[in-house]
Structure formats: structure tokens, C-alpha cells
């Protein structure tokens, strides 16, 4: 069974320093960058800086996903539809998953979050408000393309908001419903996992 409540567990060091640093830096930058984009000062210099930093983090994470080792490599947490469905069916069990790394659904959320952030940063580079904020690559795009990418930048920012809310919501669901503290694991690196 994907999620047997009977399994014996042990505490293991799962999230290394780069993983935890990446996670919390990204969280802080996305929240700051989002607020600056939507509500910040009209001159978006600091919004741009947040965006560039997020872009660097996303690129590093993709490199680690491609060339890194489990539990960070993409191959180690992208499961088949069978395993994913099995996991999804058992998700409402009131027991910790004790999954050693990203579980099949968590892995999907990693991919989804990296993808929307990549879209956000790349459209931001071409975005232009026609007033005084212009991404550094906007001058290389035609008026039509620029306006389309700027529109995508705005729509995708709402999708990011929704995915971040879902992410936090699910972590709280694990904490209160499944009684599994994923937050602590992402702070200390140590996680209670199946043997």
C-alpha cells in the first residue's frame, strides 16, 4: 500500500541546506515580488530585482532537478499515473504519509510552481506598462507581442497566487488533518519517514 499506517518509521535527514535555503528564499522573494508588483511603489525597480532573483533560483532548481540526486532530481519525484492515483486515493487517511521526499502529488506541485514562476519571470522581462516600467527585453519585441506578454504577466500572477494558496493550504491540511508536520521538516531538514 502506498500509504500504510502500520509501517515503521525513522527520522532521516532529507532536505539539505541548499534545498531549505532555496525553499525559504523563494517563498520570501515570491511574496515580496508579488506584493511589490501589485501594490508597491509605481516605479517597479525593486519588483524587477525580486524577479531577477527568483529567475536565478528557478534556473538553479531546474539544473538540480536535471542533474542532481534524489530526493531533488526530477526523476526521483515524478511518478507514473498509477502511483499518483494510488497516493491521491489515500490522501484523506488521517495518518502521516512519512514519504521520504516529495510524494507523487507534492512532486507535481513542485513542477507546477517552477513552471508558473518561469513563465512569470520570462514574460516580466518583456513586460511594458507603456508608462515607466519596462522589462529589459521589451525593446526587442513588437508592440503586439509586448502587450500580449504583459497581459500574460498579469493573468499568470493570479495563477501564482492561487497555486501558492493551494500549497500553503495543503501543508496545513497535512499538519492538522494528517498530523504530519512538513513545515518543521523544511526548517530542520529532518523528517519522519518510512523505513
Amino acid at each position: 500500500m502506498a500509504n500504510d499506517a502500520e509501517h515503521s518509521t525513522a527520522t532521516r535527514y532529507i532536505w539539505d541546506v541548499p534545498a531549505r535555503l532555496f525553499h525559504w528564499l523563494l517563498a520570501a522573494l515570491v511574496i515580496t515580488g508579488w506584493i511589490l508588483g501589485e501594490f508597491g511603489p509605481f516605479i517597479k525597480t525593486w519588483h524587477f530585482y525580486c524577479g531577477y532573483a527568483i529567475g536565478c533560483l528557478v534556473v538553479l532548481r531546474i539544473l538540480r532537478g536535471l542533474f542532481g540526486t534524489p530526493p531533488h532530481s526530477f526523476g526521483s519525484f515524478i511518478y507514473g499515473s498509477r502511483a499518483t492515483l494510488d497516493y491521491a486515493r489515500s490522501i484523506f487517511e488521517r495518518a502521516p504519509s512519512n514519504w521520504p521526499g516529495h510524494n507523487p502529488l507534492g512532486g507535481l506541485s513542485v513542477i507546477a510552481l517552477l513552471a508558473v514562476l518561469a513563465v512569470q519571470v520570462s514574460t516580466g522581462l518583456f513586460a511594458d506598462d507603456d508608462i515607466l516600467n519596462k522589462g529589459p527585453l521589451a525593446i526587442y519585441a513588437s508592440t503586439g507581442l509586448r502587450s500580449t506578454l504583459t497581459a500574460i504577466h498579469e493573468i499568470n500572477s493570479k495563477i501564482i497566487l492561487a497555486l501558492v494558496a493551494l500549497h500553503v493550504g495543503v501543508v496545513l491540511f497535512y499538519l492538522f488533518w494528517k498530523r504530519e508536520n512538513l513545515i518543521k521538516a523544511m526548517i530542520t531538514g529532518h523528517k519522519q519517514v518510512r523505513k
Binding site: 511603489p41 509605481f42 516605479i43 525597480t45 506598462d129 507603456d130 508608462i131 515607466l132 503586439g144 502587450s147 500580449t148 504583459t150 497581459a151 498579469e154
Partner: protein, 163 residues
Amino acid sequence: MTITANFKFLSVLAICVAVVAVPTMALTQEPTEEDKAISQRRAFMQLILRSFGPLAGMAKGEMTYDAEAAQAHANNLRALTGYNVGGLFVPGSSNADRPGTTRALPVIWEKLDEFASRYGDLGGAMVALAEAAGQGQGALAAAVGNAGKACGACHENFRTKDF
């Protein structure tokens, strides 16, 4: 014989004339009032940006502050935004009427008063900008930020991001 030849000649001539004339007439057809209003108001906005762009550059520190140049741009902006744009927003020229050529939303014509008051705010911001422009980079940057907000407040509600 000659009658049929003449007839043939005349029909060929008529077809040739038609082939040349129809597209030519189409090409030289006057743009409608609505089309003209659209291209003129877009050009008007570009003209504003032409003066506002360098001021934004100085405000952001991407260009070195030059009091005299800043003042000249700000004076132009004050003059430009004194222009009554009513005639550029003729009814029937929204992005619903002329898709692909304009980003002006139909709501402009539903809320003309609000639209006019946004434009009035811009005029006010430009008067303040003209007073601040020569008073140093800090004063300029603050006034540019406020003017930018006045632009954004109108674009946010009355213009789409994409065509």
C-alpha cells in the same frame, strides 16, 4: 465580324478597368472618422510618452538629471495635457468596434465623466510636475511617480493590456 471584335475588345477593356479600378478605389478609400480618431489618440499617447520617457529615465536614475532638459519636457507635458481629448474618443471606436487596432475599452463611453476626471487628474499631475522638474532629482522623481500613477489609474480601468 467587326461588331463582335469590337464587343470583345470592349469587354476585355471593361474587365481590365474593373481589375485595376476596384482595388485602387479600395486602397484610396478615406479612413473612417473612427479609424482616424484611433490612430490620432494612439499617436497622442505616444507623444506624451516621448516627453515622459526621459523624465522617467531621470527619475529612475537611468539618465543623469538635467534641470533644463527636465523643465523643457515637463513644459511640453503640461501643454499637451491641456489638450481636450474629447474629439479623439468618438463613439464607435472602442476595441469592441475595432478589434486589433485599439485597446480603448467600451467602458470609456459608459463612464465618460469618470474618464474625463481621470484625464483631469493627469493635467493636475503635469502642472505639479512642471513645478517640480527644475527643483532637483528628488523632487522630479516624486512628481514623476505621482504622474505615473495618474497614467496607470486611467489605463487600469479604461484600457486593456492586450489588443
